[in-house]
Amino acid sequence: MDHDEVLNDADADALLIAALRAGEDSAFETLVRRYGGRMLSVARRLIGDDDHAQDALQDAFLSAFNALATFDGRSKISTWLHRIVVNAALMRLRSQKRHPEQSIDDLLPAFKADGHQEAPVARWKDSGESTSDRAEAQALVRQQIEKLPETYRTVLLLRDIEEHDTETVAQMLEISVAAVKVRLHRARQALRTLLDPVFGEQYS
């Protein structure tokens, strides 16, 4: 076995944390360069606007620098940072809360008195797309996610895209687990409605 292997992630993390705690300037720069791009993408997904995402990332790194003592090394640096970035992005979203949010009701399925759906449902075709179609479809899906009312979009992003579990999302948003479940389900239903013209026609 070759002992000069490249450092594994855990060892690299441990060395970096030690250097950060020792206050080495170069370690802070390494942290920002190693994780900054990925974390900026997370902030952009949640906030949408690039300038605000950059501000949130700056807030997040400053919080992370101040919280180095609390990093216990049991999780990866990327996981720890990710959570700090999500929190910073959510703080930004809360502080810039725009106009009253659009209601989600119009995007939820409507039912007749007997419990059947009002509108007939056409099954979308399974996608067997080429790579370029796939990229185009992904862009369309991102546009539709962007249209979701923010309360619901945030939960969908945190659960289905950032892949946090329900309890973690509840803590992040300071709402109950039941509220996360309701919002996630409605967000998925609303996104299905928004995607219907995309997947129901364009790709059939």
């Binding site: 791009g37 990925r38 449902v121 979308w124 992904q138 389900h185 998925r188």
Partner: protein, 80 residues
């Protein structure tokens, strides 16, 4: 079970959180209702599409961080 009830519990169904008795009623309804089968299929496709929406290499490649932002963060740390 009506279509409305089924659709209300779709997330629980997909995530395996329905009690067994309710799951059986769910599957019986699905076996008999083409509309709900179509809705379930589209709903699952929606979730997959959302999960994959940011995998686009032009969006998700270990995105780079603008140099000015790196410098701004490091400056902010020094003056903090």
């Amino acid at each position: 079970m009506t279509c409305q009830q089924l659709i209300e519990f779709l997330t629980e169904y997909i995530e395996g959180q329905l009690p067994l008795s309710q799951r059986a009623a769910f599957e019986l309804h699905l076996a008999l209702c083409g509309q709900c089968r179509a809705y379930l299929h589209n709903f699952r496709t929606t979730i997959e599409a959302a999960q994959n929406a940011f995998d686009d290499p032009t969006v998700a490649t270990p995105a780079s961080i603008p140099e000015e932002l790196v410098q701004a963060i490091l400056r902010a740390r020094r003056s903090n």
